[in-house]
Symmetry: C2
Subunit: 331 residues, 2 copies
Amino acid sequence: MVNIKDVAARANVSVGTVSRVLAKNKTVGKELRETVEATIRELNFQPSGVARGLRRSRTDMIGLVIPDITNPFFAELAKHVEASASGAGYSVLLCITNDDPAIEAAQITSLLKSYPTGMIVVPTQSGGPTGWGERELPAIAVDRPFGGHPLISVDHRAGAGLAARHLIDLGHRRIAYIAGPDDAPVSRQRREGFVQALAEADIEAVCVSGQFDYQSGEALGRFLLQRAPGVRPTAVATASDQQAIGLIRAATDLGLSVPGDVSIIGFDDIPLANLVTPRLTTIRQPVASIAASAVAIMVGDTPMPEGDALMEATLVVRSSTAAPGPEQSSE
Amino acid sequence: MVNIKDVAARANVSVGTVSRVLAKNKTVGKELRETVEATIRELNFQPSGVARGLRRSRTDMIGLVIPDITNPFFAELAKHVEASASGAGYSVLLCITNDDPAIEAAQITSLLKSYPTGMIVVPTQSGGPTGWGERELPAIAVDRPFGGHPLISVDHRAGAGLAARHLIDLGHRRIAYIAGPDDAPVSRQRREGFVQALAEADIEAVCVSGQFDYQSGEALGRFLLQRAPGVRPTAVATASDQQAIGLIRAATDLGLSVPGDVSIIGFDDIPLANLVTPRLTTIRQPVASIAASAVAIMVGDTPMPEGDALMEATLVVRSSTAAPGPEQSSE
DNA sequence: CTGTTAGCGCTTTCAA
DNA sequence: TTGAAAGCGCTAACAG
């Protein structure tokens, strides 16, 4: 592989000069700079990121730590993080924790060996340890809080409030909520936002909790919907689109029509939400913006924020919600 | 950060010795080795992967190049690759190409800067360029051929044949096939396998092609199913589960029951396949094995194969396929 | 503005 | 079996 010395020799300059043109340092004479640039192209020189990293104790890499790449929301996040990062000349080191604090700790320790510029982490639900040895490494948390690091996430409370108000506006009064794990802050915040918005309209929600996945939505949904029409909720909101999709399945299996018999509203707006039958009304998270801000901070385009940054969620109305049927509204 | 010199000093040995115990080199005296190991733990020493990488011109990283992490099949692949890699002490550098050959080339070039041990690539559909400069880097292709590199993938032809035979065995004769992009080898192979298996039973398939995504499945499905019961196919197979799910949606929208009016069979067995209504009959790819073999080769546990390795697909029968209704079989 | 040079932290001969 | 020392390719002082 051709190195900086080869380029210097070929261009009749010192390695220092080559290094400076690489760094786009303005203190290089125009003429010389052009010669060097030509030589670089001619030799197809690719500076070693490893050598550079060793010298600067920092590589152009960003660690991305997520619980599960198979979750459409995290996949979307990863996609945008990768796009922003590579746009800024950074690579992304992928770590999957499986929502296991021990694996998370191991992954982070292992990450450090590559001297990444920083890391973007969606921590384990159970909120594991916060530190990772001495090395000072900029980190920002996404979606869920991570130690004392600045958090970028959607405003879960406000988003859930949006969902609640949508259901209320539609005329629903008997409303249920399927939450995520009780020990997950994200889950709690969404539930609280939902319950509070309902309380403001003097409505009490029946809440059940489980995981964020399809199965949970289906199982909990079955539980919720298996009761007489006059008692059964006319609308149910979920903490994730995956749960909502499982819920639709449960409703269908029970012979219930959505939204005829039950209105359903999800959270996240994963790609699939727009493809299920009926198309899912949901709360959209601004994933792209979240990813972009996180990367901007890591690469230094934006200063590390002092506190947390809450991005705004938006209501996406599709076909899984409607006004309750007349016979249903009888309380 | 503590380095190898600190450890050496603290343990009263030379850095060479420390390095040797790090490398699990047997030529270190038992006693010395234990002292050094103790010191390493005591100082919580993490050897720098960057320095190591520079010295050896190779880091413990594997490049993973995929078109789209949002595609459940690739997400699954990424998950297993990450798991195998980190199990072997390697990190994974994630590159997303968006199925764009130009981005793919740029990503690969950029990967090289980190001296990865090798790369696992699911190349762009259109089969872009094959080389990436001079540096010799082990690469293995997954799912789709990539230049002259060994390919690990499911046996697309045989898998599609399985689907065809399942439909035939069920009694279907009017069968359609929704393929992926015509310029994608994967797509061609699946279609050929399907068509050929049908031909062996003297059945001719009507084939249409599009993308591998939900939308394509839905659009093409609408096109295929919008015809009179006596002409409409009684079964349709798709090149991907996503298409099949879109297709189910199209059928439902058209008032057709699955599998009552049409049987549907997908390909891949993504997690969602088991959650849609009806649960999707499909052809399962052994993703975990594919990922594990690819990683095993990269980390040197397995020699680089001479030719391509085709893994066996399996038929997963669920509820989206059934024998055609009596009135349908009238040709 | 440009050249020289001392490392970054580690592995790997080469000696002892 | 262990130590000493030469770099891997680059950046960042420091001189000139």
